[in-house]
Symmetry: C2
Subunit: 199 residues, 2 copies
């Protein structure tokens, strides 16, 4: 069960997937997108460090406006080889990414940061999941691009949509790939609830 | 992309999860539940053999009524240790199953059988996924049972619902645990489409 919180909870993200996942576990929260530009990672930057930094920046931005809320920020990075794949801006980039993922394993890491500013409280967690795509054909890639789905998603795909048929195996938490590692997040929420009420 | 079929397709299952999964991949089909009793496995029967047999029985039953359709039957079994876990009929059984799954790996196998009777065509496939539950507490189990979700699901849980927070890792295809291994199924549909049109 989701622990009880005496303070309101805010999600610093407007991702429909994250909103749906938190509804699934019965958490009550309001949505406050951080609305900040997401700078690309520096060359050679560790993907997890980058995701944690982005999650923290988002959470801090919203916590400044809502210091009495527990603010949850999150960021998901998709890594193929040593390349961090962002959200593809164009058909060409989406095609490139999906071709890169075809017939290979890649990894998806989600970092989350929870902040309650008026108690100077900060908590971070992260999970990594390995995902395998079967060999996908050019026509499958073109069809998937035509659905418009790749463009708002890191790595150019959403495991919960049509591209589900590209994924033949995962190793780790599935919901982490969707946008939040639900099982681990609930564990973290319990710790956070205890720490906040004993503070 | 889903291959083209010149014949109509029927799903011999009324599982809302399977219906939703097939909609996700864009398959057009009608729903024709087999409506047959599901006998429990014989003692010592191999779980995969049992799932394949059940999927075949369901598909054959509907194919008898719809010989010109490609009929898809499926069955999912959940196995913990050497025990096949069915759908729990009572709170007591659901509690027992969820306690058994807590803090352990178990496996979920889905078998599917496709039949087009007027061409004497039959095709079978299956996938197995390993699933790990974190340690879950008695109060989490009671809450989950109170949602009513365990009772129509093999193993007493549905990975796509609230029990998502019990699952901290999977090894294999996620959608296989929901009820159909989408990626593999699409591969099978391609083979079936080619064989049917060349027959």
């Amino acid at each position: 069960m989701i622990p009880a919180f005496t303070c309101p909870i805010a999600l610093a993200s407007q991702s429909p997937r994250r909103i749906e996942l938190l509804h699934k576990i019965g958490l009550e929260f309001t949505v406050h997108p951080a609305g900040i530009p997401e700078p690309p990672p520096s060359p050679g930057q560790n993907p997890l460090t980058y995701a944690l930094e982005m999650a923290r920046i988002k959470a801090r931005k919203v916590a400044n406006d809502l210091p009495d809320h527990l603010v949850i920020g999150a960021d998901t990075v998709v890594v193929a080889g040593d390349q961090i794949l962002g959200k593809p801006a164009t058909d060409v980039l989406a095609r490139e990414m999906l071709n890169l993922l075809s017939d290979c394993w890649h990894s998806v890491s989600t970092a989350y940061v929870m902040i309650k500013k008026d108690q100077q409280f900060e908590f971070a967690g992260q999970q990594t999941t390995r995902v395998h795509f079967r060999a996908i054909s050019a026509s499958e890639i073109e069809y998937y691009i035509s659905t418009g789905s790749p463009f708002d998603k890191a790595g150019g795909y959403g495991i919960q949509d049509y591209s589900a048929i590209f994924v033949d195996a995962i190793d780790g938490c599935f919901y982490n790939v969707v946008g939040l590692p639900l099982s681990h997040l609930v564990g973290s929420l319990k710790i956070v609830s205890e720490r906040l009420s004993s503070a």
